[in-house]
Symmetry: C2
Subunit: 123 residues, 2 copies
DNA sequence: TCGTGATATGATAAAGTCATCAAATCACGA
DNA sequence: TCGTGATTTGATGACTTTATCATATCACGA
């Protein structure tokens, strides 16, 4: 069992660790492929991410270690799936938050775009 | 506008950046205080986190930069609130995922606990 | 057993984050 | 204006993560 899933650790620490596992674009990208298709082979993930195999493997290892995915070897191929459906939920909520942020910041941009230009200092 | 909220950036990159903002225990802890109480002063956060003020402030700055919180100064005091309600949703879903993970890993532990002890090598 | 495809692991420099202390800034009353 | 409380920002060494290449391991057919 990973040291982070120790009953003694405060939940906010465990949460922060979970978010660490999600903090790389490639790893988010992999998880999103897995929300769309129940099971995906490493070969397929290599294609969809465009990574070299050992690079992808390092990231997959992080995902496994954080209990975000499970791997199953079948012959010489390995297939990955989301470890829990809540992982997909998390990505979904993150998306809706980002959409909200994007809208708000665009509104702010639109507002500031109406401001007069700065008067250039003559000196 | 933060460079991460550029319409050109893929969503998985923006998401990963969001998760980075959430990847420290103190920052999760602050956000959770803010899910329980609409608005909290820095002084209060200092008490609830037990941090020294400049340490907390560094983390608050990360939260602001990631659009997770908004700050409002009133006199010599500054009050923080969640920037969007979806931040609380995110923490909630993370929690339910972790509960699931914890249950599953505990089940696995309970299973492996029934295995016989390793036979000690005589050499 | 060997060769090959598929995948994981090891190693390490560079980049990024964290922890912590020093200094600066803001607000306000005397 | 000065002193003080509250808070932020700057600086920097320690620690962690990322990127990338080398190597090892697993599976399988010849």
């Amino acid at each position: 069992m990973d040291q982070y899933f120790d009953a003694q650790r405060p939940l906010y620490e465990v949460k922060a660790n979970l978010f660490k596992g999600l903090s790389h674009p490639i790893r988010v990208s992999v998880l999103e492929v897995l929300t769309r298709k129940a099971e995906v082979s490493v070969t397929e993930l290599l294609t969809s991410t465009g990574l070299e195999s050992s690079h992808l493997s390092q990231h997959l290892s992080v995902l496994r270690r954080h209990n975000l995915v499970v791997a199953e070897r079948r012959g010489s191929q390995v297939f990955y799936r989301l470890a829990y459906p809540q992982v997909a939920d998390l990505l979904r909520v993150a998306r809706s938050l980002l959409v909200e942020i994007l809208q708000t910041t665009h509104e702010q941009l639109a507002t500031s775009a109406g401001l007069p230009e700065l008067v250039q200092d003559p000196s």
